[in-house]
Symmetry: C2
Subunit: 213 residues, 2 copies
DNA sequence: TTTTTTATTAATCATTTGTTTAGTTCATAT
DNA sequence: ATATGAACTAAACAAATGATTAATAAAAAA
């Protein structure tokens, strides 16, 4: 059985044993729901239906198990994000549309992810440094296309970081407020997801209006 | 000494003892920085320089201390927010400007607040129900003015919840990403705050462009 | 002053929690 | 078939943690 290595670049084709997967799945689910500190090793053992000692047998410590999960989650998340950004074949407006659709679908499928990532990142920003895809965003085709539009006089000029930030803000933030939005609007989870689905079409239009001269 | 009461509406003029304040201040600072579970009662005792038993003497339990702090923090936060929304004398565009300025200043002064509120709310959305100001937002003058503009044909029509969500998104979300933004843009804390200050002027313009026909 | 209430302290309790150990079962290779 | 190492288990350990207690000091009321 091959031990996982944080520095490795291909995580996909590693031979995990059955129990190892069970532990990781349960741990990820619990870490996402309750955060690192509120999750106990016994919680994880119970949820994954394995013996407590197996956690340390496979992952040495709770901390290390968490870091592995954090790395894999970040990696998967960022990979999916960068995919759209760097497509040479699509226009900026198409990318905006694809972004909205893809990210919103992604978060609907895994709604606890943004809060988890941002929250645990606050305590440990170093884990982000290790991600090769991080710095790539600002050098992506997406940003380049925006700057081209500025040069052509089609788009208003503003530091690209503002542009990228705004796109992510209107996509991601509503999910982090879902308890509040659902409360004040009296929405069920299904209603809320419909509202988010609505935004897939609205967001690209909003962003274009924001930047267009 | 008057015991704090969660149902009371005026929290401002209660007579707290010296130690009580010291405990609350330390606890709030720690809860904001590390969250509920990662903060121990001994952390709080050390930070506030009081005897461990004083925490239970004044607040009965860690949980109750947390709930009091949560309530007061939420109350203060929401009060400040609603202030701008319901001013009858200002126009929508002025409100947008005031919003951006006030909220951004507020969060620069207390940058851990949004993540803390949203994160702990996820685990316990009920505490939000108790806040009288919550539901008021959608019935505020701010929303009414937007809907008026729609009727007049000045603004594009969209469910007001989207409008409010967007405004808050572009204001608040960047702060929650501050570790990421600082990392990929190589910014110091000072640089980052300058970037946020820049946004005070940009956001109102963006929002107007978003909704204007 | 004396009495009574309030505030504070050090020590202790009972659980919880992360981790380890010593022993057992199971699978595989020789 | 047997030897060897990996996978698994029940039990236990040590430290941490939320909470309480019994005793004392300080303040307020009588």
């Amino acid at each position: 059985m091959i031990k996982f290595n944080l520095c490795s670049n291909n995580i996909v084709d590693i031979n995990y044993s059955n129990t190892e997967i069970k532990i990781k799945d349960a741990a990820k689910s619990l870490f996402l729901k309750k955060g690192y500190s509120a999750t106990t090793t016994r919680d994880i053992a119970r949820e994954s239906d394995i013996n407590l000692a197996m956690l340390n047998y496979y992952f040495r410590s709770k901390r290390r198990l968490f870091e592995i999960i954090m790395f894999e989650t970040l990696y998967e998340f960022l990979s999916k994000m960068v995919e759209v950004y760097n497509d040479e074949k699509t226009s900026l407006e198409q990318k905006l549309k694809l972004c909205s659709e893809k990210y919103i679908d992604m978060i609907i499928a895994d709604p606890l992810l943004p809060t988890f990532v941002l929250n645990e990142l606050k305590n440990n920003p170093t884990s982000f440094l290790k991600m090769p895809t991080t710095k790539m965003i600002m050098k992506s085709n997406f940003v380049a296309q925006y700057q081209e539009g500025v040069k052509k006089g089609i788009y208003r000029k503003v530091d690209p970081i503002h542009f990228v930030t705004n796109v992510l803000s209107v996509i991601v933030f509503p999910f982090m407020c879902s308890p509040i939005i659902m409360k004040i609007e009296n929405l069920s989870k299904k209603d809320f997801n419909m509202m988010m689905t609505e935004r897939k079409k609205l967001i690209p239009a909003w962003i274009i209006q924001m930047i267009k001269k």
